[in-house]
Symmetry: C2
Subunit: 295 residues, 2 copies
């Protein structure tokens, strides 16, 4: 197949070991956790330390994540044009609503939050950038899925609609109905489908090709997320999402008419890197392939 250098995997295994919350490791702890042979592991540790990806606590001598990651990680963010494009708008949204603004994308079957502006209010709901959630049970995810290809949606469904709260949407039909609702309104709402106290309104962001690229919106603690307030929040979110879309070169689309579903469906499955990309003069046609296999 394709053998990849084990040293690389060792390196990232070590770095990713921090993902379950532990913030300091001794060499022995790495060893126990990862089963890398000790001599090899020490070589890797030294390499990572030299490069600034690991550092040793001055006091304890234990390993911690280095700041080099912050540097490169932030690069990844800056280089994402959608983040740069929306920077000012997100801040404006926050100023206007005083709520936490977040920008999320669909990665795999999950939502990955890539940008956060925290609410200035003391009580706030925040997911740190880099955080992932299931897509089918958060507003950002539903906002994206509503305009994604059938293929992506069924992949999400196949991955399982696990129940988190009693509000969680757990059946295919309910989810499809919900997504249709989202398309009708142009935004998605979450009344605690993943966490009892999680609330949010998100709207989809489209790029120049008409595909849904992200979802932008706000996460609000239940205390401030009332039925009365929702319409105005939703309006802000929708307006800002459209503004970002247009800056990305998207043509404004009417909320319920053009579903976006078909365009997206045409370039559904994409694990093969040999996609027909040559068509710079050939824009993705809306092939009439409306296989509504739902129901």
């Amino acid at each position: 197949m394709k053998p990849t250098p084990p040293a690389i995997h060792n390196a990232f295994d070590i770095l990713e070991a921090f993902q379950d919350g532990q913030r300091e490791f001794t060499a022995q702890e790495f060893h126990k956790k990862l089963n890398i042979s000790l001599s090899t592991q020490y070589r890797v540790l030294h390499a990572l330390e030299d490069r600034g990806y690991l550092r040793r606590d001055t006091q304890t001598g234990r390993y911690r994540l280095g700041f080099k990651f912050l540097q490169v990680g932030n690069l990844a963010l800056e280089q994402e044009e959608i983040v740069e494009t929306s920077r000012g708008i997100l801040q404006d949204m926050c100023d206007e609503t005083k709520e936490t603004i977040q920008l999320g994308i669909l990665e795999g079957v999950e939502v990955l939050y890539i940008k956060t502006i925290e609410s200035p209010l003391p009580l706030r709901y925040v997911l740190q950038p880099g955080f992932r959630t299931p897509s089918y049970c958060v507003a950002a995810g539903k906002a994206i899925l509503a305009y994604e290809s059938e293929d992506k949606i069924s992949r999400v469904i196949r991955a399982g609609l696990r129940r988190f709260t009693k509000k969680t949407i757990c059946t295919t039909t309910a989810l499809k109905r919900e997504l249709a609702d989202v398309r009708r309104g142009g935004y998605a709402v979450n009344w605690g489908e993943m966490r009892k106290s999680g609330r949010g309104v998100y709207a989809p962001v489209f790029d120049y090709s008409g595909r849904v690229a992200a979802a932008v919106g706000l996460s609000v603690p239940p205390e401030r997320f009332t039925h009365k307030r929702l319409p105005s929040l939703a309006e802000v979110v929708r307006r800002c999402a459209e503004e970002i879309s247009s800056r990305l070169g998207a043509v404004p689309l009417k909320t319920s008419a053009t579903t976006g579903e078909n365009e997206a469906a045409s370039l559904a499955e994409a694990p093969i890197r040999s996609k027909q990309r040559g068509g710079s003069n050939r824009k993705p046609e809306k092939s009439g392939r409306k296989n509504d296999t739902s129901g």
Copy 2:
């Protein structure tokens, strides 16, 4: 005498290639830039792509930084207790001053900004987290250096006091005088020493051991940085820095009395790693022993 696996360096060389601003690379571009043998390079690229550190643009097929970096990079941030400890305080500072709040640490001879809360005002001065500046010519740097060991300070001086603007402090004596001033007042000010339009007030943050751990403060566009306003800003900054320090377990210290110099001097010898930066450096082979000139 410690050979580190080249595969690891290849991997990070590739990832760090993005540091000079280019956000898409073809395999050939990596090859030209890094001189890694093609077959090896492809193996590395595949490994990085598999792990999510690189991804290929759907359109162009070119390589871009993946979001995995965001995840792990943010981990590094969350796991830095000073960031967590100060989270609320920084937000409060921002609410109170409406200016950009930043938290910086000294890494090597440079200041590394690790946390930023952007001003809500349209005109604002922001350094993205992960950004580095020289330490001797920014407020954050001076706030830290003022309480650092002689050893650290002379290392900064040896690294060179380059002139950026006509305000830049470029001589040893001037710098030492400035740092003494900082110690007297408990905060540092920058009136454009690095960039003509850069202004800031920063105060040092100390940890439980009494060492200076960071600097916190605000970066302000010149239009809003008046002599009249400075005292109140400085007061906010000092108060918040002290609050963070005390949360870190520091004993409150009088502004001019304890220098912190001696405590810090005792553990002067620190890993010298700021040799390599800016990405395009091939790893310099580490010599077996360090020239200890500290005595």
